[in-house]
């Protein structure tokens, strides 16, 4: 039954995603792509649970690798989006 609730959450989140992006000026396409790419680094939260638990060694190693990779995605993603947007502002002035 839990999975049904989770599926309903997916439908609402997906609808929200559609609505949020409907009208976006072309200049913002790349920053938006980059910004949402950073959000997909949320895998990091899942990786933390796999890395720090008392599991088989291979599981912990894979989880830790996932933490490192997802951190690159999160930190790099947000910083590069910020850099893009700061350029964008200068260009407008």
């Amino acid at each position: 039954m839990d999975n049904i609730y989770l599926l309903i959450i997916v439908i609402f989140a997906a609808l929200l995603g559609f609505e949020l992006i409907k009208k976006v000026p072309a200049t913002l396409h790349t920053p938006l792509m980059s910004g949402s790419n950073a959000i997909s680094g949320i895998t990091l939260v899942g990786a933390l649970a796999s890395s720090g638990t008392e599991n088989e060694l291979l599981s912990i190693v894979l989880g830790t690798l996932a933490v490192a990779l997802a951190s690159i995605n999160v930190v790099g993603g947000y910083l590069v989006t910020d850099r893009m947007l700061s350029m964008f502002k200068k260009k407008q002035r």
């Binding site: 559609f18 949020l20 792509m33 997909s40 720090g52 912990i60 989880g63 947000y78």
Partner: protein, 284 residues
């Protein structure tokens, strides 16, 4: 998996709700030129909250490796974002996206190797996370190589491509069936797992190769949507709410952004989606 009975679990889940709201407002603000930078900041705050509060999960008992991995990843990410040339930013986004996909693959793989019983449903979503994550990874690498002109930016096509791709998809579906149906921890299961990952990586390459370099921004946007879906599937495997919400947000907004970008470039979305399955139309 996060229990919902204890107080700390309640705090974790409430913070996840807050983080989800920050992601939503972040995306909303990112869509307007005047508020875009603030939106990115909001979504970063949401991410930080989600990560910090997850560390209070009582299932996490050791922090040394987590700390080392986060510090290493942060340093690499920081310098990648700071040092990249302005013209090379789309390439970097593609590369970061691929790295995120690979992270989802490792999370799913780690779930399989954890040594606990997994239900049929969990096996199914784990299969999806592995598949989509691997496709995102190899596809993004090809897109990155094409954009940075490490390989030819031209559309690569060969005779029998359509047949080859259909065969590849059929094999992946068959492997998926074996993956979900076969008992875990048998030697044959590892063979299925490794074959599946190999085929998924190949499929990602085959998806992006037939698309010309000029269309790469659209492809990257599509792969970005895939990496959200991979995170969402991993969220189902781990029964983690924030992964599911953020993953489907990115998945849906990525698809719609891809479609908008296609329209702006005078291309049809299905042409980009199924380029390996139909004769390629050269774009100028």
């Amino acid at each position: 998996m996060i229990e919902t009975t204890s107080t700390s679990a309640l705090v974790i889940n409430l913070t996840y709700v807050l983080a989800a709201a920050l992601f939503i407002f972040g995306l909303k603000f990112l869509g307007h030129p005047s508020t875009a930078r603030k939106g990115n900041m909001l979504s970063a705050v949401g991410m930080l909250l989600a990560i910090v509060v997850t560390l209070f999960d009582k299932n996490i008992i050791s922090f040394e490796w987590i700390a080392i991995a986060i510090i290493a990843g942060t340093i690499v990410g920081f310098f990648a974002a700071r040092l990249v040339a302005m013209t090379a930013m789309p390439e970097l986004v593609s590369l970061l996206n691929g790295i995120g996909g690979l992270a989802s693959v490792f999370v799913a793989w780690s779930t399989l190797e954890a040594g606990t019983y997994l239900s049929g449903f969990v096996m199914l979503v784990t299969f999806l996370a592995l598949l989509i994550g691997a496709v995102t990874f190899s596809g993004s690498l090809v897109a990155w190589a094409k954009l940075s002109e490490r390989i030819s930016g031209r559309a690569v096509t060969f005779k029998g491509q359509v047949t080859f791709n259909l065969l590849l998809v059929t094999t992946i579906v068959f492997c998926g069936y074996l993956f979900v149906a076969s008992p875990e921890f048998s030697p044959s299961f590892s063979i299925v797992l490794y074959t599946l990952m190999g085929l998924a990586l190949l499929f990602g390459i085959m998806l992006v190769l037939p698309i010309g370099g000029a269309d790469m921004p659209v492809v990257i946007s599509l792969l970005n949507s895939y990496s959200g879906l991979a995170a969402c599937a991993a969220g189902f495997a781990l029964q983690n709410n924030i992964l599911i919400v953020a993953g489907s947000l990115v998945g849906a907004s990525g698809i719609i952004l891809t479609s908008i970008m296609c329209k702006a470039m005078n291309r049809s979305l299905s042409n980009v989606l199924f380029s390996g399955f139909m004769p390629v139309v050269e774009s100028n």
